[in-house]
């Protein structure tokens, strides 16, 4: 069991859903992103997804794209993600990385898993790597006791859903809708149906991502999922702020709103 799985089990025992916050490392700077992640932990996220910026993020909408582009333009490296993971873990929350496949592949899957485990990370989320082509990553992660977290989508066929659930540890990442990351005005019924399908396929924990941006939406998703994953709504305050410090303050307010949401207090 990873720190992530342990924490998810504790939260379940509390009778609520977890709040998982995503931020890309390197925006507005490596240091600034780490400060923002630690601030998220202090403000109430239960776990952090450390995003690794990539030049061709096909599953990301404009908000995360902008932050990732800026992070790359200022020279952010893959290895910076492990510094962020260490800082989040030291702040008391489990950390996972979220990375497109090519940066992991070029870093070396074995080396990536070794460095992630050494930093205290719990596992990796791979938006463009599915278990059927992910054998090498699964082996590298498993050998170091890391969770390999795969996505399911409303379009997943029953066969693929079962295959993905069987290959996943930690939690199954359920994409709430057919689309890219970004804030939406409503989280539709597809998410609830997908969570039920993943549970039926044997998933012990299912967290919902894509589109959740308000406390009310978090409360709604928390009623049926084990966790709520929030990305763009946490990146936006950092993008909109004139000064990094102001961004972090605005981020904390947003985290508090979502943290209340997963506790049913939106």
């Amino acid at each position: 069991m990873t720190a992530l799985s342990d924490r998810l089990a504790e939260i379940k025992a509390e009778g609520r859903a977890a709040l998982i916050g995503y931020l890309p490392v390197g925006y507005p700077s490596v240091k600034g992103s780490i400060a923002a992640m630690v601030a998220m932990v202090e403000a109430g996220v239960d776990a952090v997804e450390v995003g690794i910026p990539y030049s061709d993020p096909v599953l990301d909408g404009p908000v995360i794209q902008r932050a990732a582009e800026a992070a790359l333009a200022s020279g952010t490296r893959v290895s910076d993600a492990f510094l962020a993971v260490r800082a989040v873990v030291d702040a008391g929350a489990p950390a996972v990385v979220m990375s497109y496949y090519n940066p992991m592949l070029q870093y070396g899957l074995e080396r990536f898993a070794t460095d992630l485990a050494a930093a205290g990370g719990s596992g990796g989320i791979t938006p463009d790597l599915t278990p059927d082509v992910g054998e090498a990553w699964i082996a590298a992660a498993t050998a170091r006791g890391l969770d390999r977290i795969f996505l399911v989508a409303p379009s997943s066929t029953p066969e693929r859903l079962h295959m993905t659930v069987a290959a996943t540890t930690g939690f199954v990442y359920a994409a709430s809708l057919m689309g890219v990351t970004g804030e939406r005005t409503a989280v539709g019924g597809a998410a609830e149906r997908l969570v039920a399908r993943a549970r039926d396929a044997g998933a012990p924990a299912v967290c919902v991502g894509l589109g959740v941006s308000t406390g009310a939406q978090a409360a709604q998703v928390a009623a049926y999922a084990d966790g709520v994953i929030v990305g763009s709504a946490f990146v936006r305050p950092l993008l909109d702020a004139a000064e990094p410090e102001a961004g972090i303050e605005a981020l904390k307010v947003k985290v508090a709103e979502l943290a209340a949401g997963v506790r049913g207090r939106a």
Binding site: N102, M104, A153, S155, M178
Partner: protein, 402 residues
């Protein structure tokens, strides 16, 4: 080797290829693969595609011997496969007619496409108009400015052209944006991919739709007496090259040469030669050679030819390079433009700058092989779209009168 290399089915070609995409797209790719597997063995699909080739785009394309140009090729005999004479001006139409027919078969009403120079976008808009499909084309903002005429052409044909503002604002970002559209609209929309790259089934399927080039050319050369000693084509993503190579793959005597764009020269770092100057990696859904930094971030490509200006290459080319069945050369902007100028002056044919890379390769290959050799060049497109670029390059445009 005894096994045929022709029409390799994928998803993997050796260690290259595969399908590295978000789970949300897997069902659509499976549906497309399934529909394609059925269509390729369905005589009525083949007949419809053949009919469109014959009555709409002008197949078979002719083969032209170019003796005056050949004097600059060590005296070898040089033949052109004239894909430039197809409707819409390049080989791209072969592929889009197939994929548009397939779109109708799977009951979808909308197509999306990416385009760099605009050739694939124009071809897709054309097929969409012909088959009554809604069409959206993604094009990097930089390319919409460089190729304004093709933007107008697509709009005349009824397509919506979306300038892409993300990333480097070029072809690779247009592909990213098309993927994002596809994820959100996959129920109604089919992605008509322009080259023999991307996730399975695109590399194999696009190759099959372009395969007609080599099948025709092989028969046309045999009818003139013999197989050529070498077949040469330009390689961006690589669809025209794999299209002409495939029928010759099992002819051990035929040398196959792909010409990548070397821009200012591979050694300068400003180039688009994924095989000569890149490393294996995953980009846009498949494993192949990629221009990338140590962290796997895609690096911008450079070429005078917008159609070759792409930091990846189709996985089947990576495989043929690894097998040693095909060789891949890097042709600089300067070499390509010299070949471009020569073909215009010696044969009265204005080639696409993309295809001029293959012509430049033929000039080198002819010198190497000598006067007894026969070389077949795939003239993948015509140069109408490149008149402004070439006019500037050769300083032929009128001086501004201010």
């Amino acid at each position: 080797m005894t096994d045929s290399l022709q029409a390799a089915p994928g998803p993997f070609f050796g260690e290259f290829g595969g399908r590295f995409v978000p789970e949300a797209l897997m069902a659509a790719l499976d549906e497309l693969t399934d529909a394609y597997e059925k269509a390729r063995i369905d005589p009525s699909f083949r007949e419809e595609l053949d009919r469109l080739g014959r009555d709409y785009s002008g197949r078979p394309s002719i083969v032209t011997e170019i003796p005056r140009f050949a004097r600059h090729c060590g005296g070898a005999r040089v033949f052109l496969k004239r894909e430039d004479l197809n409707h819409t001006g390049s080989h791209k139409i072969n592929n889009v007619l197939g994929q548009a027919l397939l779109t109708k078969r799977i009951g979808k009403s909308r197509v999306i496409a990416e385009t760099g120079a605009g050739q694939h976008g124009v071809a897709t808009a054309t097929a969409a108009a012909l088959m009554d499909l809604e069409c959206t084309v993604y094009m990097g903002q930089e390319d919409t400015e460089r190729q304004a005429l093709n933007v107008a052409r697509m709009r005349l044909l009824g397509a919506t052209v979306v300038p892409v503002l993300s990333g480097s604002r070029t072809l690779k970002d247009a592909i990213n944006e098309a993927y994002r559209d596809w994820v959100a609209n996959v129920d109604t929309t089919n992605y008509v991919f322009g080259t023999a790259a991307g996730p399975h089934p695109f590399p194999a399927m696009v190759r099959d739709f372009q395969r007609v080039i080599g099948v025709e050319a092989r028969a046309q050369m045999l009818a003139r007496g013999a197989l050529p000693d070498a077949v040469i084509a330009c390689v961006g993503g690589g669809s025209n090259a794999i299209g002409i190579f495939d029928a010759f793959l099992d002819d051990a005597s035929v040398r196959l040469v792909g010409c990548e764009a070397a821009g200012d020269g591979v050694e300068t770092g400003r180039h688009a030669s994924a095989i000569s100057g890149g490393r294996p990696g995953v980009l846009h859904g498949s494993q192949s050679y990629v221009l990338q930094d140590a962290d796997g971030q895609t690096q911008p490509s450079h070429s005078i030819s917008a159609g070759l200006d792409y930091p990846g290459v189709g996985p089947q080319h990576a495989w043929l390079a690894a097998l040693g069945r095909a060789e891949y050369w890097a042709i600089t902007d300067a070499e390509a433009m010299e070949a471009f100028r020569l073909l215009c002056r010696t044969e009265g044919i204005i080639p696409a700058i993309e295809s001029a890379h293959a012509l430049a390769g033929a000039m080198k290959l002819g010198v190497e092989l000598g006067s007894s050799a026969t070389i077949l060049v795939n003239l993948s497109g015509r140069g109408d779209k490149d008149v402004e670029t070439a006019g500037k390059y050769f300083a032929l445009l009128p001086e501004p009168t201010s």
